[in-house]
Symmetry: C2
DNA sequence: CTAAATTGGTACGTGCCACGAACCAATTCA
DNA sequence: TGAATTGGTTCGTGGCACGTACCAATTTAG
């Protein structure tokens, strides 16, 4: 609502909701595009990112990505088939399976992340450092708010990667 | 890169790339969740949003959504099967097909959009009006930059809706 | 200590989404 | 008029996500 009637250009007079939706799609599509150049989907990229510094079980992976365990099975299947990750039996629990990246997986993930950082850098190049800082603050505030609101949101991974 | 070593909380010390990625996922997931409550996917929601004030052909729809024509066929098929849109023959070009929403489609889209606006409102409630204005400005700047950069990006639809 | 729950994973089957290729019908161009 | 071009549909393929059913290992309870 409150859609201003005066609209000269395509992005003129965007309200907060529109602006955030557009920005979100832009970033999302950018990542999809960059990952796609390496035949990776966004989920696959996030998977590899998470595995950068961990070897979680399928179960933990599910929580980390906010996906059902059956989804994880397929996801890891496809990644394993491509030689990007490996399954290893757990020593503690003989039911459990740990997932780890291969060198190839790490390399791919790193390439995507580098390209993504570069692209985001281009998109924000017009903002002064102080404005970039403010943008970070706003985003952080919104993320924090979403966490406290319900808490049941899937774990979001900074830069598609780790999280304490 | 430049990942700060000092990290106390989950979102502490996010850099610009991480912050934007997280924010993007947050908004995206929020929309997916809200749309999902009405059995709608994000694409379906965008489709209905676009049709709010237009009756484009399949072809135009493809450009608007940045999808292949074959993808549009299936998309419209499923929506039509659910009674959310209708196909009508074009008067000018007997090959072409125009797509329009039904009342049910409009109602659904409106509900999702209302819920989405409300949720974004909650997430940004902590920001002062001046900060919200700045956030809009930053987002708008990034979007503008992405357009000028290559120009071949798929058409982004403000609030999943119209666009001049 | 064994029987009953619970937990960790996998294997379907289903459906959406996206693509490319093949194809048909209508339109436009030469 | 004949040859491209354009608008759409129909496959076939593959990723993604879910729920259900199922199996094996582990934990809990009696």
């Amino acid at each position: 609502m409150n859609r201003p009637d005066i609209e000269s250009g395509p992005d003129a007079g965007l309200d907060l909701v529109d602006a955030l939706a557009l920005l979100s799609f832009l970033v999302h599509d950018t990542l999809a595009e960059l990952a796609g150049r390496h035949e990776l989907s966004i989920v696959q990229t996030r998977l590899l990112g998470i595995l950068r510094d961990r070897e979680p079980t399928m179960n933990e992976l599910g929580r980390l990505l906010g996906l059902d365990k059956s989804s994880i099975s397929g996801l890891v299947d496809r990644a394993e088939r491509r030689g990007l990750v490996t399954r290893t039996a757990s020593a503690q629990d003989r039911r459990a399976v740990h997932v780890a990246t291969t060198a190839a997986g790490r390399r791919l993930a790193a390439e995507v992340e580098t390209a993504f950082s570069a692209r985001i850098g281009e998109l924000t190049a017009g903002l002064a450092p102080s404005d970039q800082a403010r943008l970070i603050a706003y985003a952080t505030a919104m993320i924090a708010r979403s966490r406290s609101d319900q808490g049941d949101h899937p774990n979001l991974e900074p830069r598609l990667r780790a999280k304490t």
